[in-house]
Structures are given as C-alpha cells and as structure tokens.
Symmetry: C2
Subunit: 175 residues, 2 copies
C-alpha cells in the first residue's frame, strides 16, 4: 500500500466508526412496481426537506432492489415504525425473511398502489420531483402527496438505530 | 379560502404533526467566513450519504445566516453533540445567545479555519462538491476531508430531538 492508500483507509475506517455514534429513526421505504408487486427496505437515510412545498428526501444505494422501482415509477412511501413494530425491522432487514415482509392485512394500498403500513407512526406518500446521484447513492426528492397519521395517541416512540443496533428513546422523556 | 386551499392547509398541518414523531440526532453545522468569523446552527437535517467516497449531506434553509457562508466558502463541519453538551443546544438555538456560541477554548480550527467542537462525539470536515436547491432549502453534498473522533470511550449518547423537544436515548440500551 502507498501512503495515500493508508490515509484513505484510515479516513474510511474513522468515517465508519463515526457513523455508529449517530442515532436515527428507522423508516420502511416502500414502492409498488408496474405489476403491482410491493418492495420495501429499512432505512435511516430519510428526512424532511422543506415545509414549502412539504417534501421529504431519502438516499438509496444504487444496488438496492427498490432503487430501479422508485426510479421507474416515480413514487415511494416512508413508513415511520413505532417501538411496538420491532418485528418489522427484522423482516425488512433479513434477506431470508423477504417473503414475510408484506403480511396481508398489515398494509394498505395508498396513492399509486404504494404500500402504507396500517399502524405506522406516520406514512408519507411521495412523488419524486427531482433526484440527485452522488457516489453510490441516489437522493430522491419527493413532494408529499399525502400524510397518513394512523395513531391518534402519539404516545409510541420511533425505533432508533445507534451503534449498529436498535435502541430506544428514554421514556418518560428526561430533562 | 377555496377547497384547494383547505386541502393544502390540512396537508401542511398533518406534515408538521408528522415531523414531530420522528427522532433525530442534533448536530452543530459550522462554517468560517472570509474574515475568519465563525458561524453555526443546530440541525437535525444532516446525515451520511455514501461510503465511497465518504460523504455527508446537510439541508439548510436559504434564510439561515450560515447558508451564504457555506455557499461562498464551500466548506462546513458537522459536530455531533453528546448528551453532556446540552448547554450548546440552547446557545446555538436562541438568537439572544448568539454571542455566547463559540466560547474560547471549546473550539479548534480545523481545515480551512472551520470550527470543530473539541468534545464532539464526532466532527466531519466537509468540502462541498455538489449542491441541490429544492424549495426553501439547499442540500449541500460534502466530501469528508477529515473525521475527528475526540472521545475514545464512545459511551456518551447523542442528543435527540423528538416531539419539538430534546430527548434521550435509553441507557442501558434495551432489547
């Protein structure tokens, strides 16, 4: 290895370490292909963008199977999972559980056939209005077509991802 | 109001409500202007983008005072704050505490004079390589020039933002 290779390796390793220190909520990004087939994966790379217009963004690796579906159909949903749906995290993360992801009765057809989780904390149905490719990822910019708020109590916390594992928000909230 | 106005108002309100349900880590985005002046603000809109090349992104409102500084200088830092630096969150959120933000001794000059928090959980020094304007915000895509990991124990949790207030990660982590 050259000195430059070593520097790059060190930067990449430190970058990897640093990403473990940041906590983020986990959402299921979902899409519907042209044959009505549903696709989904767990992400921490989604977030709100602007209030005017209401818009969300999500960064997705080019190699993810949902990537070409969103690219072709121009629509996705972001389903924010509550602490009581940890089972979904496992089903959407393990490739050997791929056929157990969309359990009948748990999901509903939203705009354009995109699957919306019936007991999500929130679901944003988004129409891709712009996108930006960068490195291994595409950032999809979605105009929010619909906001579904299935729960009225808003007492359930989202599932967190921290240090390579799932974590919880402290309850009651401390000050 | 027309029926369409009412629909938009409802969507905007539901969107606002939905954003309160998502938990995110809080970082201080910082920049250094041409006269050496330091700028900073607290954000939840930053995240990692791709591993190859190591890159981060941050969405910043056009009206934020740090926006033109990053635009002109092409460099920013993301300082992930630990639970033990809640004081910084207040200083960087309240405009009447603007002159108390960069307390001498707490910050160091990183690449290009960008301020790095000495006891951040992590600091990413980023060079803006691309940007994307959308609605009220610009998304800055930053190549990571340096990763600073000031703490070796990695036992401190990041500060969370949830439901319009700061929140904590449960410790010890529950399963």
């Amino acid at each position: 290895m050259t000195a430059q290779d070593l520097t790059m390796t060190s930067l990449t390793e430190d970058f990897r370490t640093s990403l473990r220190l940041c906590a983020a909520s986990i959402s299921l990004v979902t899409a519907c292909d042209e044959t009505g087939g549903w696709h989904g994966m767990a992400v921490t790379s989604s977030g709100s963008l602007s209030m005017e217009p209401p818009s969300m963004m999500v960064a997705i690796n080019h190699t993810a199977s949902i990537h070409p579906v969103i690219l072709r159909t121009g629509r996705f949903a972001l389903n924010l999972m509550g602490e009581d749906r940890l089972d979904l995290l496992e089903r959407f993360s393990r490739s050997d559980m791929r056929d157990q992801r969309f359990v009948p009765g748990e999901w509903t057809d939203a705009v354009g056939g995109v699957p919306a989780l019936k007991d999500a904390l929130s679901t944003h149905i988004c129409s891709v209005v712009e996108r930006h490719d960068f490195g291994t990822h595409t950032v999809f910019f979605g105009a929010v077509e619909d906001v579904i708020l299935p729960r009225t109590d808003q007492a359930t916390a989202p599932i967190l991802w921290l240090n390579g594992a799932r974590a919880s928000v402290a309850t009651p909230l401390t000050d």
